[in-house]
């Protein structure tokens, strides 16, 4: 018998011929959040800052200047636009002049850049989570991983209250990355330290 068939046969033996009915799953936990949008934005900012991310808020018209301010925050003084790479679907007005676009070069070459600018698919206020979905706007996964500073632009209507609402909005088969703050570890005496292998600096431009 193949391993596959043997493991399946073992499961059938274990569960017996007279199988118990499948227990009902009661989903009486919160699946929506009725708080006003403005309040959700405040919650998101609070959670992000709690995880040592920097948040800059602006109006839609101020995005270009705020992205530059975000890079000023995350990079050493005198940074060069050529050291910044953006996802291919990032709108032109969000791109500071002179930045590079991810053109599908070998992923490891993205490590040469100092910072990345991307958009997100959804943001979850209660957990301070940004979700990237591999779309042209979010970029491929390596793009938001290798450069040491990550700038994410979040539009107000992308912000939902809790995890259930966030997951419901996503394209399920896409390569998804949920990001909650800069990379961190609690492996030394269970004390949290920000900044290990992923970007050590996370700056969020929150629009609206």
């Amino acid at each position: 018998m193949s391993s596959r068939n043997e493991v399946l046969a073992r499961i059938r033996t274990a569960l017996g011929t007279e199988r118990a009915p499948v227990p009902e799953i009661v989903r009486d936990y919160r699946t929506t959040d009725e708080r006003p949008a403005e309040e959700l934005l405040d919650v998101l900012v609070d959670r992000l800052e709690d995880y040592k991310a920097t948040v800059l808020r602006c109006t839609p018209g101020e995005i270009p200047a705020t992205v530059v301010a975000a890079l000023d925050t995350g990079l050493p003084a005198g940074w060069a636009p050529a050291d910044v790479v953006v996802a291919p679907g990032v709108p032109d007005p969000w791109r500071p002049a002179g930045t590079a676009e991810d053109d599908g070069r070998p992923a490891v070459e993205l490590a040469d850049f100092s910072a990345t600018v991307v958009g997100v698919a959804v943001a979850i206020a209660e957990t301070g989570t940004l979700v990237l979905d591999g779309s042209p706007l979010s970029g491929r996964r390596a793009l938001s991983l290798l450069p040491d500073c990550l700038v994410c632009v979040v539009i107000a209507d992308q912000v939902v209250g809790g995890v259930p609402e966030g997951l419901a909005r996503l394209e399920r088969s896409a390569p998804l990355t949920m990001i909650s703050g800069p990379s961190a570890t609690s492996d030394i005496e269970l004390s949290r330290v920000e900044g290990v292998h992923g970007p050590r600096t996370l700056v969020v431009v929150l629009v609206g």
């Binding site: 193949s2 391993s3 043997e6 493991v7 073992r10 499961i11 059938r12 033996t13 274990a14 569960l15 199988r19 009915p21 499948v22 227990p23 799953i25 009661v26 009486d28 936990y29 919160r30 699946t31 959670r47 995880y51 992923a107 490891v108 490590a111 209660e126 301070g128 989570t129 491929r140 996964r141 390596a142 991983l145 809790g162 995890v163 259930p164 997951l167 419901a168 399920r172 088969s173 896409a174 390569p175 990355t177 949920m178 990001i179 909650s180 990379s183 961190a184 570890t185 492996d187 030394i188 005496e189 269970l190 004390s191 949290r192 330290v193 900044g195 290990v196 292998h197 992923g198 970007p199």
Partner: protein, 489 residues
């Protein structure tokens, strides 16, 4: 393989001689040594009290925590009830999205599958994401025997690997080491490290970053575990903090994921429950820094060759036990370790298995067969703290009692304890015998010489009890005597 016949279906357990599910000595012996290590106890006390406080704070802010817990428990029970159908669906979905699914009856077969897959790529080193399943089957040793070097990339796993140590905690395998000890390991084993390295956790984390950066960028093959797999969509999930997981799941050309068959959930929606329960229970965060979800292969993004190895290794034997199967609901958060008064004092090594603490005490004996880990179901005071914090409400104390009974039933010869209880049952079933026994016990007052507890040096077999416990001195009169005196007979 060992098979225990208790009227339930007899299915093979995890084989001996491979992997890390069995210790080389019983828990009480190993625990006695651990308890003498003052540094270990200080490290564990500090770390577990830190994480307990963090977990309590973030769980308290979730108003529907109990509803999420109940849903988590129900989803896992529903998954187990139709595990075969869900696994077949997962296989269909992963295959349809360009992945390859392999099935492994046990550790030996899983190690062989992974070794062969790595060999086929022609490389001699792989990067690894922290994974309990690959620890369980001893994959690193199997790869090493085939001339393949496995680099652990999780900070704690790296500390354990560099220190030629064993993991002692599910979430933080190096929890038994403090910052000074970690600094010493890094200075000794990382040739490139600055000799002026301090024991500041931030500096230590930066040293690990520098040490692994080049390895990530050149890696061609990665091996991971999985926190969840969604049958409905074929999606796999890895939950982590450092970004080492993302490096492994994203940069290499080939990705091999080893997953226990119990880790799947039926539907995409089920993730909304577990992605709330796991981080808060585990690291005490509202959400862990990085969660990666991938479905098969995505052209132009991440590994283009994806293999999923589904592992039994004693899980179906566990599933056959109607009481014990609840241990398969575990999502490996480690909250039960952090609250356990036994774990906090002995640490993880004393359990002899990669699954320590309360969940390990019910999981390891079921994966191996209870006779191969017979002391573990007793490694508990049955206080129930583990049940209270478990995010999927596994009734660990009840399973412990169930396994103790199974162990006792399996004895061919009566143990001294069994004989003692048999005698006690006889005595207690006759009022006259019982009164005489009470009078006889009253003689113990002579030994106690007025102290509230009996002397520790009682003769055998009573010494086995008094070695680690106080035996109270019998009272001057029994309850019935006192009642008769005060109220008349």
């Amino acid at each position: 393989m060992t098979v225990v016949d208790l009227g339930m279906p007899t299915l093979p357990h995890a084989p001996r001689g491979v992997g890390h599910l069995r210790g080389n000595r019983p828990f009480p012996d190993a625990a006695r040594d651990a308890l003498r290590d003052g540094q270990l106890r200080a490290n564990l006390g500090h770390a577990t009290s830190t994480i307990r406080a963090k977990r309590a704070a973030v769980v308290a802010e979730v108003p529907d925590w109990e509803q999420l817990r109940a849903a988590g428990k129900a989803i896992k029970a529903a998954t187990m009830a139709r595990l075969d159908a869900h696994l077949e669906e997962l296989e269909r979905q992963v295959t349809a999205r360009g992945g390859t699914v392999h099935w492994a009856r046990d550790a030996i077969e899983a190690n062989a599958i992974v070794t062969e897959l790595v060999r086929a790529t022609g490389v001699h080193e792989v990067v690894k994401v922290k994974s309990m399943a690959t620890q369980e089957i001893g994959l690193n040793e199997a790869l090493e025997a085939a001339g393949i070097t496995a680099h652990e990339t999780d900070l704690a796993e790296l500390i354990v690997q560099l220190g030629h140590d064993q993991p002692s905690h599910i979430l933080v395998p190096a929890i038994h080491k403090n910052r000074a000890e970690i600094r010493e390991i890094f200075l000794r084993t990382m040739p490139e490290v600055d000799p002026g390295l301090s024991d500041d956790p931030r500096e230590l984390a930066m040293a690990a970053r520098a040490h692994l950066r080049e390895r990530f960028l050149r890696a061609e093959v990665a091996i991971s575990g999985a926190n969840f797999a969604v049958a409905e969509t074929g999606t796999l999930a890895v939950v982590e903090s450092e970004g080492n997981g993302r490096m492994c799941l994203t940069l290499p050309r080939t990705l091999i994921t080893v997953m226990g068959i119990e880790k799947l959930v039926p539907s995409w929606r089920d993730l909304e429950v577990f992605l709330q329960l796991l981080p808060r229970s585990s690291t005490g965060e509202r959400m862990n820094p990085y969660t990666s979800l991938w479905t098969g292969v995505t052209p132009g993004d991440g590994p283009q060759d994806f293999h999923l190895v589904l592992l039994d290794n004693g899980r179906t034997a566990t599933l056959a036990d109607e009481v014990g199967r609840e241990a398969l609901h575990c999502i490996r958060c480690s909250a039960c370790l952090n609250v356990c008064p036994v774990y906090e004092r002995t640490g993880g090594h004393a359990y002899g298995s990669v699954y320590p603490g309360p969940i390990g005490a019910v999981l390891s004996p079921q994966l191996t067969g209870v006779e191969d880990n017979a002391s573990l179901p007793y490694a508990s005071s049955l206080c129930g703290a583990c049940y209270d914090v478990c995010p999927v409400a596994i009734d660990i104390p009840s399973i412990l009692v169930h396994l103790r009974a199974e162990h006792v039933e399996a004895q061919k010869h009566a143990t001294p304890e069994a004989v003692a209880f048999r005698v006690l049952a006889k005595v207690m079933s006759h009022p006259r015998r019982w009164r005489m026994a009470q009078k006889a016990a009253g003689l113990g007052r002579l030994l106690a010489r007025g102290r509230p507890t009996m002397p520790a040096a009682l003769p055998p077999p009573a010494s086995r009890w008094t070695q680690s416990r106080d035996l109270p001195t019998p009272p001057k009169e029994t309850f019935t005597q006192a009642w008769a005196r005060e109220h008349g007979s």
